[in-house]
């Protein structure tokens, strides 16, 4: 296989396209790649080599950002297998899930003080962990890409909520 700028993220990182990934190995690989391609390595070279290095370095960073985040990785797998997420067009969710989201929002509005918020953060983190486990099963065991896309969309809601809780905690910290 010839590595080039159009290779997909998994190819660039020398990984088979699966959800499960060894994070430490991924980090090490990122550094190995940047050691080869980073523009600083070519500071005294001619302008085009520098331009090439820049493009590669950017591409490597892009692939790394995608592969290291479980949600982005899952979404990318969906894309590679012809079932892109398209979150803007697909907003239908199971009722039970929507009810929980609404409950969480209400709880956040009513939360007062550090203890409440930290408890919410823990709850959301637990839900997130469960959903990520399910992602792995759907992706690597069943390889059911449309189902994976649904799960990714659900997880996007949860992550959005987790970030809102985080923002409230930030505000409290000031």
């Amino acid at each position: 296989m010839n590595l080039n700028l159009q290779s997909n993220d998994f190819e660039i990182f020398g990984l088979s396209p699966r959800f499960a990934v060894d994070r430490a190995a991924l980090d090490a690989r990122w550094k190995d790649l940047q050691r080869e391609a980073h523009p600083d390595r070519f500071a005294t070279a001619d302008a085009q080599t520098q331009r090439q290095a820049m493009q590669w370095s950017v591409r490597i960073n892009e692939a790394y950002q995608r592969l290291k985040d479980p949600l982005k990785r899952a979404a990318y797998l969906c894309e590679l297998h012809g079932a892109p997420i398209q979150a803007e067009n697909n907003t239908a969710m199971p009722t039970a899930f929507l009810m929980q989201q609404m409950q969480w929002r209400e709880d956040l509005d009513e939360a007062e003080g550090l203890a409440d918020l930290e408890r919410m953060a823990d709850d959301v983190a637990a839900t997130r962990r469960t959903l990520l486990q399910e992602l792995q099963t759907t992706a690597d065991d069943s390889q059911d890409w449309p189902a994976l896309a649904n799960q990714v969309r659900a997880l996007m809601f949860v992550e959005r909520f987790a970030s809102d809780v985080e923002n409230r905690l930030d505000l409290l910290g000031q």
Partner: protein
């Protein structure tokens, strides 16, 4: 481990052929230049043996003749009697409009807005912060060139990690005015970490607490196998040792019951005395503050306790930033293996104690906190100039502030989140809203807030030359690229037709190319240059480098080329070699560009092969 080495024939490791590359710490209160000699990074002294250059420039009345300015210790000595023309802490003005400079009224000189940037009014006219900084940079450049008795190839210049795009660009502009080739802008905490990383040879997670004269930076870095990765960075670009001086001066005035406004001379005297007392209290149990203000001599006894009390809020602000950056990095304070103290202000016992208590370990202070940034920058400059071969550190840095674009209703849509690894690029698609629209305007801002009004305006980009179509039919892909210096550039292409839009940048702040060219013409720091002769020399140097690089490339990877491509490249190389022997600078430039265009696809193939080959020996997983 094989590295992809691009070297030019004739470039050897012979010390006599090494390039002179230095690291420059352009600080708020003082600046330094350092270089690696005989494998050791050291600060270069001036003729009088002092390594520190106070970041102070005093402008003299042009009518008096002479050089028109004093730089460094001479200027500092004159500050109390001529505060209006003695510009200190100009770093606070870099990249800023007057309204954005904290406590601008407390400065001893007058700052006004001109062309959207803060400038200083002096007896020699209006001086931009870039010009003032360029005086300091030029002084250091000449010092380095004298030290090595050779021209300066380039420098790594450090900036606070929290500097935004405008502040970084201003720094690059200042370097250009001083005739310095900037190899890389690196963040001060990263530079300090490099200095400690090589001396202490440790892997792990480090916090860099950098309290300088005017800025505070806190960064979390991880060092593994020669790669420095910045995990997160934060700080306050308007908080530094100067503020501690001001707080102490204010406290003394309050204790003495002086409420009246002081004149510029008195303000300067109060600050100078505050700094002296602050430094004395690092080792004394009490110190007397003496000054002549508001018509009387004052004496105020100050204890470390008094000082810590009147500056407690400032120290607390630094710790808030520390907690936030730990959260951003996703590490706890216990996971931090070592805390590096950078900046003269970290000599304050209250700082060392507060930081030590928070992290539960003694901070690292064995390197001189005033010199450590310059030392680290020199190590990196040495590596970038190609002088060292093994053990080169690689810096993987991040963008400190999010980039966003203005959308409907004055909101910000974030396109590059803060702490993203750089270099990075993000593309977004836009379309037209009117039939036949051929131009598009984008407003780019920097910051974490949701409203454009609360963020820092970077630039307005006008994309022109979009092929006229029905409204909504155009798909304009705008690519935002942040380079390894943390600077933004924008390109745009209409996807359907493949037409590249012309991008006109109107920076919210900074000097235009014409302004810089004009300043250079005014024999600023590169006096008496015959511009034409210089153009010819530069064209020839570029041509030689292009030919040498092409020869190396062919020697290594000629098999990647088809015979016809090879012939074309050989022909263009020969043509360039012939043209370069003539005197027509323009013709040489054109021939160089021709060769560059022809070898572009070759360069791409080489890069792909290089990366693939270097990694083929390392399988990530056994399948």
């Amino acid at each position: 481990m094989a590295l992809l080495q691009i070297s030019e024939p004739g470039q050897s490791l012979d010390p006599h052929q090494r390039r002179v590359a230095v690291g420059i710490d352009l600080g708020t209160t003082h600046s330094l230049v350092a270089a690696v000699r005989h494998g050791v990074s050291e600060c270069l002294p001036a003729a009088d043996g002092r390594v520190i250059l106070p970041s102070v420039v005093r402008y003299l009345d042009p009518a008096q003749g002479g050089s028109g300015r004093q730089i460094g210790f001479d200027a500092l000595a004159a500050q109390v009697q001529d505060p209006a023309n003695t510009v200190s802490s100009v770093k606070r003005l870099m990249g800023r409009r007057r309204a954005q400079v904290a406590d601008v009224d407390k400065l001893s000189y007058t700052v006004v807005d001109q062309d959207g940037m803060a400038v200083v009014e002096t007896v020699a006219g209006h001086k931009t912060p870039m010009e003032v900084s360029a005086e300091i940079l030029a002084t250091l450049r000449f010092r380095a060139e004298d030290s090595f008795d050779d021209d300066l190839y380039g420098a790594v210049i450090t900036v606070p990690a929290y500097f935004d795009d405008a502040q970084r660009q201003a720094t690059k502009d200042a370097a250009q005015l001083a005739g310095i080739n900037v190899l890389r802008l690196i963040n001060e905490p990263t530079a300090a970490a490099i200095a400690y990383g090589l001396d202490n040879s440790s892997e792990g997670v480090y916090a860099i607490y950098d309290l300088g004269g005017g800025t505070f930076d806190i960064s979390i870095l991880r060092l593994t196998k020669g790669v420095f990765e910045v995990m997160a960075t934060g700080g306050d670009s308007a908080l530094g040792g100067d503020d501690y001086d001001q707080a102490l001066a204010a406290w003394v005035l309050a204790q003495q019951g002086i409420g009246a406004d002081l004149n510029a001379s008195e303000r300067a005297a109060m600050h100078a005395e505050a700094r002296r007392v602050k430094e004395a209290l690092s080792s004394a149990a009490s110190e007397t503050f003496c000054a002549n203000v508001a018509g009387r001599a004052i004496e105020q006894a100050v204890t470390p306790g008094d000082f810590e009390a009147c500056t407690a809020a400032l120290t607390a602000r630094t710790m808030t930033a520390v907690r936030k950056v730990l959260r951003d990095a996703g590490v706890t304070k216990d996971e931090v293996q070592g805390v590096v103290m950078v900046g003269g202000s970290t000599r304050m016992p209250v700082i060392r104690r507060t930081v030590g208590d928070f992290f539960g370990k003694e901070p690292l202070t064995n390197l001189n906190p005033d010199e450590v940034v310059a030392l680290g920058a020199a190590i990196q400059a040495n590596a970038l100039a190609g002088n060292s071969r093994d053990g080169d550190l690689l810096l993987l840095d991040v963008i400190p502030l999010s980039l966003g674009i203005e959308t409907m209703g004055g909101l910000v849509e974030r396109i590059v989140p803060r702490n993203s690894a750089i270099p990075t690029a993000l593309a977004q698609d836009f379309t037209t809203y009117q039939d036949g629209q051929t131009a598009l305007a984008l407003h780019v801002v920097q910051g974490e807030r949701d409203l454009v009004a609360d963020c820092r305006s970077l630039a307005r980009f006008e994309l022109r030359g979009i092929p006229p179509m029905v409204a909504g039919a155009a798909r304009i892909r705008v690519t935002f690229t942040v380079d390894a210096d943390g600077l933004l550039s924008v390109s745009a292409k209409e996807q359907g037709s493949g037409v590249e839009a012309r991008v006109d940048v109107k920076p919210a702040y900074g000097l235009s190319d014409e302004q810089i060219a004009a300043m250079l013409q005014d024999s600023f720091a590169t006096a008496q240059q015959d511009i034409q002769a210089r153009a010819l020399v530069e064209a020839r140097v570029d041509a030689d480098r292009m030919i040498a690089a092409t020869r190396t490339a062919l020697a290594a990877d000629a098999d990647l080329l088809q015979p016809a491509e090879r012939e074309q490249i050989d022909a263009l190389m020969a043509a360039l070699a012939t043209t370069a022997q003539g005197d027509d600078a323009k013709a040489i430039e054109n021939a160089t560009t021709e060769l560059a265009k022809a070898t572009e696809p070759f360069a791409a193939l080489r890069m792909n092969r290089g990366i693939q080959q270097a990694l083929s020996g390392k399988k990530l997983e056994e399948v």
